[in-house]
Symmetry: C2
Subunit: 275 residues, 2 copies
């Protein structure tokens, strides 16, 4: 490829949740190509150790580099929390994660300086949101809650469901006690529960979706580095989005089509352990 600006953006996640980030990139940067990798064989990352997440992330980056990507988006909070620093040092293309942008938006949004964060056990245990927000404004109080059941509930499809409402309420109960006015949805699956959370939490609490903020940060990054694809898409050009997974996921097409504004037929399986 002669013009690096026409190269695709690599987006990866532990599984399918990162498609919520891909969706925002498609909306915000419609001329950009995307190579998406979902580690469906080894999902979920949320209960795994730092060493394992870094090893998995390195393998995925090595695969993405075979696709000649011009930038990498870690569309997974857990992988961002554990592996962003390492990858930024090791990889020769720009790498961004989902946490910095989400934290920034939350800091801008809060009025009473009480911010809640819900995420996987792994993400919460790193204190990454708390540390990032404290650096931005030391007066802000961050209240964190690990919610390990929310990903399985989304994957089970129990989205608009009385039981899911009860589980959400149990998880956010302590955050409400702390009078939060802003809640970061710190796992890429959680935006799929956004309307339930809106219903349960009411208008007083601003819900921050890091996927949306990450797409805006990516736009800024590409512009700064002169990496934006400024070529308009040709009419007969094939779809600029390619999808890869590490295990056959019969639900991939269903899930992708329920999230993305395009029609996705299937994803190619990659033996990721060999990278």
């Amino acid at each position: 490829m002669t013009d690096i600006r026409q190269a695709p953006i690599g987006v990866f996640d532990s599984g399918l949740g990162g498609l919520t980030v891909a969706r925002e990139i498609m909306r915000n940067l419609p001329t950009e190509k995307i190579v998406y990798f979902g580690d469906t064989a080894r999902v979920p990352y949320g209960n795994k150790s730092k060493e394992t997440i870094i090893r998995y992330s390195r393998q995925i980056v090595r695969f993405l580099q075979t696709q000649e990507i011009k930038a990498i988006v870690i569309a997974c909070n857990t992988a961002t929390a554990y592996a962003l620093d390492v990858l930024q040092e090791e990889v020769d293309v720009p790498v961004i994660g989902v946490i910095e942008s989400g934290a920034h938006m939350a800091v801008d949004s809060t009025r009473n300086k009480q911010i809640g964060v819900i995420a996987t056990k792994a993400t919460i245990s790193t204190h990454v949101y708390t540390d990032t927000i404290s650096r931005m404004d030391p007066e802000i109080n961050v209240i964190s809650q690990a919610c390990p059941l929310l990903v399985p509930l989304v994957e089970e499809g129990w989205i608009h469901d009385q039981i899911t409402d009860e589980i959400i309420m149990r998880y956010v109960d302590d955050l409400i006690e702390h009078d939060i006015d802003t809640l970061i949805l710190g796992c890429t699956h959680y935006p799929l529960l956004r309307s339930e959370m809106r219903k349960l939490l009411g208008d007083r609490v601003t819900l921050v979706n890091p996927a949306y903020e990450t797409a805006k940060a990516l736009e800024q990054l590409l512009t700064e580095k002169d990496l934006r694809n400024i070529m308009p898409k040709a009419k007969d050009e094939p779809t600029p989005y390619r999808f890869f997974v590490s295990d056959d996921s019969e639900r991939f097409a269903d899930f992708a089509n329920s999230i993305l504004p395009i029609d996705v037929k299937s994803a190619k399986i990659i033996p990721i352990e060999e990278y």
Copy 2:
């Protein structure tokens, strides 16, 4: 080792649920040594494909063989469903799974020939319990239900919990409609919900725990093959149980100590992808 009968039994699972099988082996065969491997880096298996489960199982068996095991117990319903046949062909020590024994017990137990099976999505999709039971008694009707939320609920520790009761009732509702008198707990995590299920289903439904039946089948197998360890344990002999995992699991010791009749301090981490 000169006497193969003193060699350990290899027991493996996708994670920690298989400890319920190890527990029954400890109780039933107290002179036997055990090497337990839990694939905590790649848990859960229940949503993965056949090809992936077979690849993972082969890696684990190669690791167990470095421990000079005399027999292998697949303490995981999903791995039994997908990989038992393959491993029995490829491996030069006896291999048993958890499904045959559980199915046998259920067939012996049912009076009205209506048997329910609850398990992971992967196990249910193989129809392995239905096929196995039909071979034993074609008149029996097997009603299956995948319960993907039960493993995360157990791992979250919400065992005696109103929400867990509601989720169990939703899953078993259709089985009760079919008037089952026997229910197979077709995932090694589910025996930890046994008392909740007993409370919800009452005395009319017999709960079958394949872990218990598997320990009895193992005893029979070892006896037939002249592989029983008949040496009594020496007083100062170190603990005959060793535990390995593929990822650091801070919950391992807690979980193991809540299940096993012995005191477990930790598990050694094995880079299973390299086997």
